[in-house]
Subunit: 346 residues, 4 copies
């Protein structure tokens, strides 16, 4: 941390800051300029934060310097990580296509969507059994019955499953079915949930809070990592802005920014960002050439009958066009499509 003093401040004020910092075991380095005194602090940032240095006489500004996330930072882990989900890699050398229905509705609909996904080259299946919805009157998902449908479809197709978990005490149950747990945008700062998943060793996809900064997103990942689970994939899904023409605003810049700060893989969800079917293709292309390690898209055999977000689901015809774009631009970026590296029992 850096403490900047007001112009013309008394020596006593400077000494008081130094004394308070040293009292909690920190070190303070004073630099005197012509019109300003600046004090650099070395020690535990959290301890310093609790000192209310900004409220001390003569202090003009207190600035935080070191990043607060450590385990997910690239600072001490320069090589970018690969997360494997039942043999499917998500990382710097590949582009992983994940597709499936927003919500699991019936065995038939889920299987049809999975087969569409697979035909288009997807190597993972998404599908929600627990749906956090703004309205309590909206369809909330099939619950554990939905998980069983997903497991059956995995048996049929071989596609590993990513599915959302919404409560800490359901983590163990969902993990019995899922290959990868998803933390949704509304739960990004549900710390009890983050910690419960951190206790497992199941890969996790952490969606960015629609109102969270990149810093807060990485801190949420740090909560998981701190408990020992580093199998984390970040997923940008649009942020809330004043613009209403799209459901959310895809922050495509988040991909290179995150990759500079963290070693974790980062993918993009173009379906929830834009909220409209016709935006999925251009946003997917943009995601891949911005360097995303994968994309996750909504598909549905009959979107007009979907119980959730039908307006953004791709149909089979769209998916073929998308698949070709993914293939071409993956190659352009010098990467390979992500394929399963070994065969597992399913």
């Amino acid at each position: 941390m850096v403490v900047v003093m007001m112009p013309g401040v008394e020596t006593e004020a400077v000494d008081a800051v130094v004394t308070r910092v040293e009292a909690v075991g920190g070190q303070a380095f004073v630099s005197r300029g012509v019109s300003r005194v600046i004090i650099g602090l070395i020690g535990d940032v959290e301890t310093f934060s609790a000192l209310d240095l900004a409220g001390m006489p003569g202090v003009a500004q207190v600035t935080r310097v070191s990043t607060e996330y450590k385990l997910v930072s690239r600072e001490h882990h320069p090589e970018r990580s690969v997360v494997h989900v039942r043999g499917v890699p998500i990382g710097p050398d590949t582009v992983t296509l994940i597709a499936g229905p927003c919500a699991v509705e019936t065995p038939e609909q889920t299987l049809a969507a999975a087969q569409m996904a697979q035909a288009a080259g997807a190597t993972m299946l998404r599908g929600g059994a627990f749906k956090p919805r703004t309205s309590p009157y909206a369809f909330q998902g099939l619950g554990e019955q939905g998980l069983r449908i997903l497991a059956d479809v995995r048996q049929e197709t071989g596609l590993p499953i990513v599915t959302e978990v919404v409560s800490a005490h359901e983590v163990a149950m969902v993990a019995e079915y899922a290959d990868m747990l998803q933390i949704g945008t509304r739960n990004m700062q549900n710390f009890a949930l983050l910690q419960a998943i951190g206790e497992t060793r199941v890969p996790v996809m952490l969606k960015r809070g629609m109102n969270s900064t990149i810093q807060e997103w990485l801190m949420a990942a740090e909560y998981i990592a701190q408990r020992g689970n580093l199998e984390i994939v970040l997923c940008e899904r649009g942020i809330r802005t004043f613009e209403t023409a799209t459901r959310n605003t895809l922050d495509v810049s988040a991909v290179p920014v995150v990759q500079q700060l963290s070693h974790l893989p980062v993918i993009i969800d173009p379906s929830h960002s834009g909220g409209r079917r016709e935006l999925v293709l251009p946003l997917s292309r943009a995601a891949i050439v911005a360097g995303a390690d994968g994309i996750i898209v909504d598909v549905h055999p009959q979107p007009e009958q979907a119980l959730c977000d039908g307006a953004q689901a791709l149909v089979a015809k769209d998916l073929g066009v998308l698949a070709r774009a993914v293939t071409d631009l993956t190659a352009y970026m010098g990467r390979s499509p992500a394929r399963r590296r070994y065969r597992s029992a399913g």
Copy 2:
């Protein structure tokens, strides 16, 4: 819902919309203008939402009309509600002052803060034992030990307690100590938590998500109400905007807007909104004359040693000034200070 068709649209397109709406049990009323056809829909909005009407040929726009919250709406419950917390009312005839430390740290600090609060006319004590923090390295609260300290301080002072619960499976435990449960800003859409609290009959303070619209906030309250608990107090605590001069931007307009839409009481937290001690007094005054049913403020006997948000905590001297302002402006608004109406065992 209202469906607006594109100019010059074919009859077939209009019929297709009507057919689809009727297929799910809805009614469709077609209004033909000179250049536009408009279709009004009567029936279940959620069902209609799933129909992807916006994606049908010839449809220009789909607009939602009816509010989605019912139990917390003022539409069918015109009189504003009063919530009682161990005999202390929060509602339209009173202004309730709630004060206490951001975090419970020690028995001494908590008791000192409670006595400061009480001397200033506060009739409820706030204090956090479970602290959701952005960083996993920040102080996370004392947990159940903190709750025991709060209960002891209630025994000593008679002040009812409001304290945060962060996880659905801890609701029962926290409710053993607390007189009112608090749902924090980061958990406003933790639906499992909302539902668990909805199952109890314990009063709850629902803080607005710092990035949530008023509509979403009322929908979150509806989740609680739907399970049978209508003892809900809403708390505005600042929203996230582009402005960085304050920690968040207090949305003071939310008070009259919410009171028009919902019968639930609404209070303001000026401490977390501004994030700076010197803003607490002007924002508290603004809150009361905007019509807030109460305010909740951070106090601390020694803010410079606080483990959490010391920069915004009031000290004893500030609190006296605040107390006078609360008294004067409560009277100006034709209300009374909230006092306990009966004596309970504590």
Copy 3:
């Protein structure tokens, strides 16, 4: 400015920063900590900004310290200023009520609105002759004819006039009629306009850009001040946020924040903030007790026929209620209503 180096950086990198800073006439003070080197810079911040220090090897972060506004800052001008508009003061000892129609439509409507305003205790008249509108198809104001109507109404009532100017080359013409020039929210960074008004000695009301930070707002005021005109009143009128229940979000905290940073008076426009008539009263009350030096409200004799923003205009009955609130709360704040101090020719 403060330059923070990366951990374990080489001496060469530190020296390179120092050399570059000294090359442009600055001074650099190096502070070596255990894991970090911090360099404090003294000199011209703009010159330093142009050096791309953040792009130099080994630099982790560059932070700006000193404020960039000087003339409007309270740092060298601790006493808060009073601006007089034809004898009506706006400043720390008074609360000034400004009222009038959003747009000047006819002589009759303008006079009626002015008389309503005056009866309610307003001592200045607002009214737009040049209306910047989002749509080119919306009513754009009567132009110079509107200014003549305003001047006639001033003759009749004695109320000084504040009216908007939208283009640098019209400043002289508008200033022939107006007692105070208004810079609208969309023009807050129209620097040519700011500078043209800075060349005059006419008082100016600078509305906050609906998307501007307080820092940018004060910088815009500095543009005016730099040309020699310090007769500036700041006006908060709501900022753009994700919330759609109100037209904009009134940032009531801006009042105490600005008063801490700048000596300029600051008032609030509750009509444009909320965009709804029923919010004007609670927001006006909030404004006054937050410390605002005045309020400016829309009134209209027949709002349902208004050509601009009728939904937010007060009618005579509302205005009486507002007037009483202004009187009472002005007294509560230990201030006086603003009255003209001398009689001018009109």
Copy 4:
């Protein structure tokens, strides 16, 4: 427009709405449902807006339906337009690379930057002579002297020039030098400037206000078009959000959204969006595959000495990499690089 009445409303309230609408020459179509009455209005939307229908008894909601921009809309002009700047096309069949310094500083710097741009395949030169800056103490540009430098560099290189104009009364003067006028983000709603440029027949690049919705942006374009100038190119340059890791948040979705709504070409400025050199390449790639009709980037021979935004300027080496990406992805999109179609006098 659509007027939605409250549930159980009286016939009188409905009739009153109809009467008021018909009084101003509009038509009202009443649709009665089981629980709601909906009234569709046909006629002039602006006239209706002035009626304060939302304030009438029994009215629940008023919704606008028809778009307010007409000349720039794709509704009546389905084919996407091409704008030619001294023979260089910007439109649906090409990708135009525009490059140059943020600010014109010296003849040498400008020529060097132009030659870098040309070597990389750019066919237009950008460069600012009038710089609107947040701070009045920042470098404001060389003014007309800068325009002369640009004209000399055009003579030397043949590259057409785009440069900013900041004031209505300078439009004619700047147009003597420029091939394309630029309206900067802070002036997007400077309506006097929009109208003055609308009076010319000079091509114009309209940057999106950093806080403007797409709707407002198209309305600003309509201001220009309304005066007869349809040679408009839209430029997305990042919007203001809560995220601070990038200078602004590039709204890449705006490209497909705008192309659906308007026939005008739309390009992207990746330099000002991200504000950091290392983001220019990934964001440029994303822009092209999202369908942008061009990109405009900052280059500088010695960014560390730039007087403006040096941190985001590309150097020669970066520019070569960018040029290859532009070429490859332009081909991928089935387009051609934009080349001058005829030789002009220069």
